[in-house]
Amino acid sequence: MMRWWKQFQQRIFRSVHSIGEVAYLWFDTLRYGFKRPYEFKSLLHQMEEIGVRSLPIVLISSFFVGMVMAIQVAYSEANFAGRVMVGIGVGVAITREFGPLLTALLVGGRISAGMTSVIGSMRVTEQVDAIRLLGASPAKKLVFPRIFAALLMLPLLTAVADFVGVFGGLVVSLVDIKMTFMTYIYQVQRAVSLTDFFGGIFKAVIFGFFIALIGCYNGLKVEGGAEGVGKATTRSVVASSVCVMISDYFLTKLLIIL
């Protein structure tokens, strides 16, 4: 019993310690990131890495989720009006929730893992030490471009996911439910307000921030060679997904209050 309690205490202590370190890393990133010479080139490179390369996953999965949503709404038994309400159901669910969440989970897993493995291997091959030795801060050179690229690209990808998801719903409505184009679009327009849309985009910004920060932090903390990189990468995927889920709840709450 005592031992269990001790381990529990240690775990809590370690978690709090990591949270402190993550906050400190963010602080360093802000402190050094805006100093000359600016990291434009790596920022662009990261935006491409995150944005362009994630586009296929986002397109495919949001299209299918849109279609699935449409079918679910149309054929739900409890809702006798379901068939007529497809545009409303799909529009609201996608823009408020599934667009941002799906993007953050899929893209987030991909990019936080990528960041951890790249920065982690730089750490085990002493490149991170070399950056420090040669007079720069890893927070500025490595973390800053990644976090800001994620802050910019996640909302963009989410917007894409919203449109493609709604489009997926449209396809099902036309082909399967025999709804007219105009009806579906009219429903989406009526149901989805700009507040819904930008609420989702706002979530995406926050998700992007957490995902990149976690990915970078785990990379910089890697210890013990190639094996360590592998472990840290897995840890990043799990931590960023969990963090997205938890913060999603609080963000949703917050957006409803506002």
Binding site: P37, V124, E126, Q127, D129, A130, L134, G135, A136
Partner: protein, 242 residues
């Protein structure tokens, strides 16, 4: 004689394992000091303390008569600028060409024109025997070539001291000999302090003014190559024979 660096009873532990246990060592200005020791004994850890990439848990580190133990990254800049470091893994930046790797310290630390940078980079690449490799990417280079590029990068700011972390490990005998000669030449031509960490005894004998022997987190012996041969300690002799 002036002192370049001084370790005063330095302790360092990682994950509950003591690596340095009260290590004391003087590194004299202008000497070529070789630190000998088995693998995993903390040789890299010692070098990283000199430039503040690691800091002691207990004890003090002095560089150029200044106590750098509590320095933050900004204060460490003044030390790091004057010290070249050849990392064990070379630590070339994967995302940059050979030219950009070697030019990196100049771009970070000086406001030289691109033409001046180019001239300096070419000169240093020639010095390490790698002319014409400018636009190659590091992953296309052999281990020996990577080490030489890393060396060019380490000397580009014309440092007062050069720290080599196992410069000959993993190289063939001929390249090893060549690197030994290069280190000795650089040492004499640039009038710098050289600190070389290695477990290669031949390297040590041919390059060193003095040799320090690291054992269980302390320096067990320091002296000239002649002195170490005659030293009575059986652990030192065992290591020399192997």
């Amino acid at each position: 004689m002036a002192i370049f660096a001084f370790f005063d009873e330095v302790h360092k532990r990682f994950d509950g394992e003591d690596v340095l246990r009260g290590l004391t060592l003087h590194i004299r200005k202008g000497e070529a000091l070789i630190i000998l020791g088995g693998s995993g004994t903390g040789k890299t850890v010692i070098l990283k303390h000199i430039v503040g990439l690691l800091s002691p848990d207990k004890g003090r580190v002095y560089v150029n008569e200044r106590d750098i133990t509590g320095y933050d990254e900004n204060q460490l800049l003044t030390v790091r600028r004057k010290v070249g470091f050849l990392f064990q893994n070379s630590a070339l930046f994967d995302s940059m060409s050979v030219f950009d790797n070697v030019a990196y310290p100049l771009r970070e630390h000086t406001r030289l024109l691109e033409s001046e940078i180019e001239q300096k980079v070419k000169e240093k690449l020639k010095l390490v025997g790698l002319e014409g490799t400018d636009w190659m990417m590091p992953d296309k280079l052999s281990g020996g070539m990577r080490k030489r590029v890393a060396l060019a990068r380490a000397i580009i700011l014309e440092p007062e001291a050069l720290l080599y972390d196992e410069p000959t490990t993993g190289l063939d005998p001929i390249t090893t000999r060549w690197v030994n000669v290069l280190m000795r030449n650089l040492h004499e031509r640039l009038h710098i302090t050289s600190v070389v960490v290695t477990h290669n005894i031949q390297s040590a004998m041919s390059v060193a003014d003095r040799i320090a022997f690291l054992y269980r987190g302390r320096i067990k012996f320091v002296g000239t190559p002649e002195e170490i041969k005659e030293c009575g300690d059986h652990i030192v002799q065992e290591f020399l024979k192997s």
